[in-house]
Amino acid sequence: MTKRPFLGWFVTPAGLIAIGIAASFLAILQYSLRAHVPGMLDPGGFTFDNFTTLLKPAYGKAFITTVLLCFWTALFTLLIGYPLAFAMLRTRSGWVRGAMLIITLTPLFLGEVVRTYSWIIVLGNQGFLNSALLGLGLIDEPISFMFTTMGVVIALVHFTLPIVVIMLAAAIAHIDRKLEQAAFSLGAGRVRVFLTVTLPLSVPGIVAASSTAFAWTFSAFATPQMIGGGQVVTISTLVYQVGFASFNFPLAASLSLAGLLFTIAVLSIFNLGMRRIERQGAY
C-alpha cells in the first residue's frame, strides 16, 4: 500500500527551486569572502576585507538611514493605517466599506515604480504640492521634498499602507464585539472602550503589521533611489550602486549579507515580542 502517493513527484520541483535559492544564497556568501579586483568582474582570492570595509562610516550611515526610514515609515503607517482599518470595519454601509477597500488596495497592485513616479510628480519642486502651496500663497519658495528623508518617508508610507491596513483590519475583525458591548454596558464611553478594550486587543495585529512594514521598507529600492536621488542612501540603493556603478560585487555581496543578518535579527525581535504577548494569554 503506498501510504504517501506523489511524494516524490510533488517534492521534486519544489526541491529544485530550493536548491536554486540555496545556491544563490551560497553564491552571495562566497562572493562576500572574495577580494575585489578593480576592472575585473571575476573576484579574487579569499579575504575578510569586505566586512572590514563595511565598518567605514559611509556604510554605517546607510544602515542608520535605513533604520530611521523603517522606523518613521512604520510609525506613520500605523498612525494613519489604524484609523483607516478601524473605520473600514465599523462602517455600517457595505458600499462605503467596498470603496474604502478598493482605494486602499489599489496601490498594492501598482508596483513600486508607478507609485514612486506619482509621488515625484506630487513632491517635485515644480510638482503639484509646491505649485498648490505657492499658488495659495502659503509659501514663498518651494519646499524641498525631493532628495530628502521626509519625501522618501511620505512615499514609503504610501507604499506600506495597504498591507498594514489589511493586517490591522484582520486583527481588529477578530476581536469579539461582545467585549466592546460588555464595556459599553459597564458604562464606559466610546473613547474609553476604544482605549481600554479595542486597542489593547489589537496589539498582536499592530506588532505583526509593524514587522511587515519594517521588512517592506527595508526591501524598498525604487522609492529611496528615485525620490532620495542619491541623497538618501539606504542599504538597497548602496548595494545597487556598489554593484552596478563600481562593479564591486564582492562588497555588494557582503553588504547584502550584513543587511540580511540585520533583517533577520530585527524580525526575530518582533517574533520574540509577539510570542511574549501570546504567552500572556490575553489573546
Binding site: 544564497f25 477597500l101 515644480q126
Partner: protein, 269 residues
C-alpha cells in the same frame, strides 16, 4: 446609545480623519491623472494646455511594448510554474512527514524575509559564477522564487479547509490515487489555485527591484523599462502609463469585489 454633542464631534472628526487619509492614498493618482493630460513636455501645475499625446507616445514607445511583452511572458511562465511547484509542495506540506521538510519549507519561504535586492544580487552572482546567461529563463526562475511563498500559502490554506473524506469516498469507489487527485482534490482546490495563481501573476508583473539586477536590454520588464524612462526623460509619458495601470488595477479590484467580496477574500469580515 445616547448621542451627546461630544459623540457627534467624535463621529465627525473621525470621518474627516478617514477622508483625509483616503485623500492621501488617492492624491498621487489624481495628480498623475492631471499630469498625463499636460500638453507640454515640462510638467506644470495647473497644466497650461491639454492633450492626449503622452498616451499616444506611451503606446508607440518600443521599450514599453517590449516590456509589456516580456513581463507578460515572465509572469505567465513564472506564476504557472510556481503554481505547479507550490501546489505540489503545499500538498506534501499538508499531508506528509518526511526528512528535511522543515528545511525545505524554510528555504522556499525565505524570499518573504530576504529583501528583493538580495535575491536579485544572489541570483546574478550565481548565474555569473556558473556562466548562465542573463536570459528570460533566469528571470522566470527569479520570479518563481519570489512568488512561490504566496502560492504555497494560498494552496495550503485551501488544503487545510479541504474535506479529506471526499478523497476517501472516491478511493472507496475504486479511484486510484492519481484519479482521486485529478477528479476530486484538484477540482475542489481550484478556487484556491486560481487565487494563488492570479496573485502570483500580479506580483510577478509588478516585480521591479530583483529584476533590475538580472535584466538586459533585450529582457527588460515593464517596471524596469518605466524606471529607465524616468531616468532618461522628464516628460509625462510615464504619467499616462501610470494612469492606465491604476485604471486597470482598480477595475480588476472592483470586479473582484463584486464577484468575491473583498472583505471575505482578505478575512476582514
Amino acid at each position: 446609545m445616547n448621542c451627546t454633542p461630544l459623540d457627534h464631534l467624535l463621529t465627525w472628526s473621525g470621518r474627516i480623519l478617514v477622508a483625509l487619509i483616503l485623500g492621501f492614498v488617492l492624491l498621487p493618482f489624481v495628480v498623475v491623472l492631471i499630469a498625463s493630460f499636460n500638453h507640454s513636455s515640462i510638467l506644470t501645475f495647473p497644466p497650461q494646455d491639454w492633450s492626449l499625446r503622452w498616451y499616444a507616445h506611451a503606446f508607440e514607445y518600443d521599450d514599453f511594448a517590449d516590456g509589456v511583452k516580456n513581463s507578460l511572458i515572465i509572469a505567465a511562465f513564472g506564476s504557472t510554474l510556481a503554481l505547479v511547484a507550490g501546489t505540489g509542495f503545499a500538498y506534501v506540506l499538508n499531508r506528509y512527514e518526511f526528512r528535511g521538510k522543515a528545511t525545505l519549507h524554510a528555504v522556499l519561504m525565505s524570499s518573504l524575509v530576504i529583501p528583493n535586492f538580495t535575491i536579485g544580487l544572489g541570483l546574478l552572482i550565481l548565474a555569473a559564477s556558473v556562466s548562465i546567461p542573463r536570459s528570460m529563463g533566469l528571470l522566470v526562475f527569479l520570479h518563481i522564487t519570489i512568488v512561490l511563498p504566496f502560492v504555497v500559502r494560498s494552496v495550503y490554506v485551501s488544503l487545510q479547509n479541504f474535506e479529506r473524506q471526499l478523497e476517501a469516498a472516491a478511493e472507496s469507489l475504486g479511484a486510484a490515487p492519481r484519479r482521486v487527485l485529478f477528479t476530486i482534490t484538484l477540482p475542489l482546490l481550484l478556487p484556491g489555485l486560481a487565487a494563488g495563481w492570479l496573485f502570483a501573476a500580479i506580483l510577478s508583473f509588478n516585480e521591479f527591484t530583483a529584476s533590475l539586477f538580472l535584466v538586459n536590454q533585450r529582457t527588460q520588464t515593464l517596471p524596469v523599462a518605466m524606471y529607465n524612462y524616468v531616468r532618461e526623460y522628464a516628460d509625462p509619458t510615464l504619467a499616462a502609463v501610470s494612469v492606465i495601470y491604476v485604471v486597470a488595477v482598480a477595475a480588476m479590484l472592483i470586479l473582484a469585489h463584486i464577484f468575491f467580496r473583498l472583505e471575505k477574500v482578505l478575512n476582514v469580515d
